[in-house]
Symmetry: C2
Amino acid sequence: MPGKPKKTTIKDIAEMAGVSPATVSRVLSNPSVVSRPRQEAVRRAIKDLSYRPSPIARGLSTGRLPCLHVLISDIRNPFYAEMARGVEDVARNNGYAVVFGNTDDSPERELQYLAHTNELRFAGVIMMSAVGKVDLKKALRELNRPIVLANRLVPGMEADAVILNNERGAYRATKYLIDLGHRKICHLAGLRYSSASAERQRGFVRAVKEAGLDIPQGGVFSGDLRVESGETIGRRLVKEGLKCTAIFAANDLMAIGLISAFESEGIGVPEDVSVIGFDDIGYASLPRVQLTTVKQPSYEMGRAALKMLLERVRGESSAFRTIRFEPELVERGTCGVPRS
Amino acid sequence: MPGKPKKTTIKDIAEMAGVSPATVSRVLSNPSVVSRPRQEAVRRAIKDLSYRPSPIARGLSTGRLPCLHVLISDIRNPFYAEMARGVEDVARNNGYAVVFGNTDDSPERELQYLAHTNELRFAGVIMMSAVGKVDLKKALRELNRPIVLANRLVPGMEADAVILNNERGAYRATKYLIDLGHRKICHLAGLRYSSASAERQRGFVRAVKEAGLDIPQGGVFSGDLRVESGETIGRRLVKEGLKCTAIFAANDLMAIGLISAFESEGIGVPEDVSVIGFDDIGYASLPRVQLTTVKQPSYEMGRAALKMLLERVRGESSAFRTIRFEPELVERGTCGVPRS
DNA sequence: TTGTAGGCGTTATCAC
DNA sequence: GTGATAACGCCTACAA
């Protein structure tokens, strides 16, 4: 094969600039230790040959690839898609590739992905779907790489984190229903092992208690955060005879499922029952949906998570930080005063 | 540092099995050339030390990392999220990591990502958001790696592809409106440079022509496939006085935008105007939305695309193939007979 | 069938 | 400051 292009390497640059490969490498990573004239010679050579160092060779040598691993529950959930987009936007602008993994909230899958993180030497991890299991904390620790927990925390684990003040958001949602006059309020909770879901449930309980109300007997259900589980529970609720006038769902997807079930059973929202969600995904604002909900700035949270991760990856060490975003109640059309 | 773990390498295996590193490498990649007894000795050693070859070292040597690059327009579009999920599911089950890139349909960004593909030596590319530009074809060719075009084709480019029969889907959608009695039908087209959008427009035109109808003066608009552009055009249409009784939108997102605009302007759907979309994203089926549309099996298309890519990556060479999925009309509630 | 040795492109550790 | 030189962990002629 005669015309094999042969990528230009650090040696070509060294030769052209009349220095050693080591010096070229220094110009690239630690310029301050190289004398001015050689620095310039090297830079010119780099430009002339439009040289780009090989990330893989670098990776072999340093043990780090310019790739970030992002673990989410399911990219089809608009809330995650939005965060994912925030993440990717800043990663791209910083020269990092983003590898996504859908866990479906399975701890096994989580571990499986982390093994991959390690093998491929990805530079860091954003864990958005942490399912609090003992071994997860251990696995994350042993990974020995920068990690940012986003959206969900891992109980008992110190780490950088980007989360919403879920408790407060849930409290407000519930308080809103109470102020509307509701006395019997149910809660469709999320995953048992999700810290976000747990916090939302706590916020719900606090609001109810503070108002001196009781949670209806068996009034807290748990779903899996998908539309279908909202539908299932909604139908069950109707069948059993609605024992509440309002429901706070742990996320919009389930709220939408609830509404679907109710309306197909002839129960009007908000005439017969009020429904409030959480997240404020894009569809919540459609005229036909008009879901009252608690907004989280998901895109911004994704960006913030990646920025934190980058700082760590770049070696800026300091104490762990937690960035906590504030929720915002968005009044729309699925809540009203209770039927007298 | 005394207790440095020191990953186990191919040498450790060689030593433990009493063979050379080369032999270990062979059992891993081309076992048939190694004698039975040594093969077993090596495998046992691998198991005992739970050895896993380093993808990076391999990558440096072979020029290929076990990562696949998937280029999409925007992960927040549920249609893409669905395909992305299909892709990731089969990639994961085959030991490949998936790197996603959002192009926002920008040719520059497309090229930028492909440069990354090359630098990081990703094993293959799935291009779902091809914006037909001359240099894209060239860039893809020069990439010198397996490529699968999904969702959109690149004009004049031979390659493996997974697409929907867009022309037929659009034809059916339009025919459906015509059969309902509509005579003045508009089309909200998609991206000018998307082959999928172009095909849909052709299908629309064919149906109208075949029925001996005329397309209303200025009755074909073009949007960018996002909800907002549906809203914008919807409002403009109303302002200018609706000159049609039905509209076929190139995708569901824009259809939803149209409906939002119409309803907020007091125009009923389907009473005053019928709207049909394309894709059948999850939200189309919600009771409150009930969007009539053309379904594409997006998840399956994602899977199919990745399977094709894997075949190529694994070196199974053969002629280029195109897998063409068939669309399916889904009648729901946004189309009706025209107002007399 | 098996082993030796060079190469993949950088970084890092030494001396100088 | 700078330049050899050895890793980094695997693959692959080439030779035996």
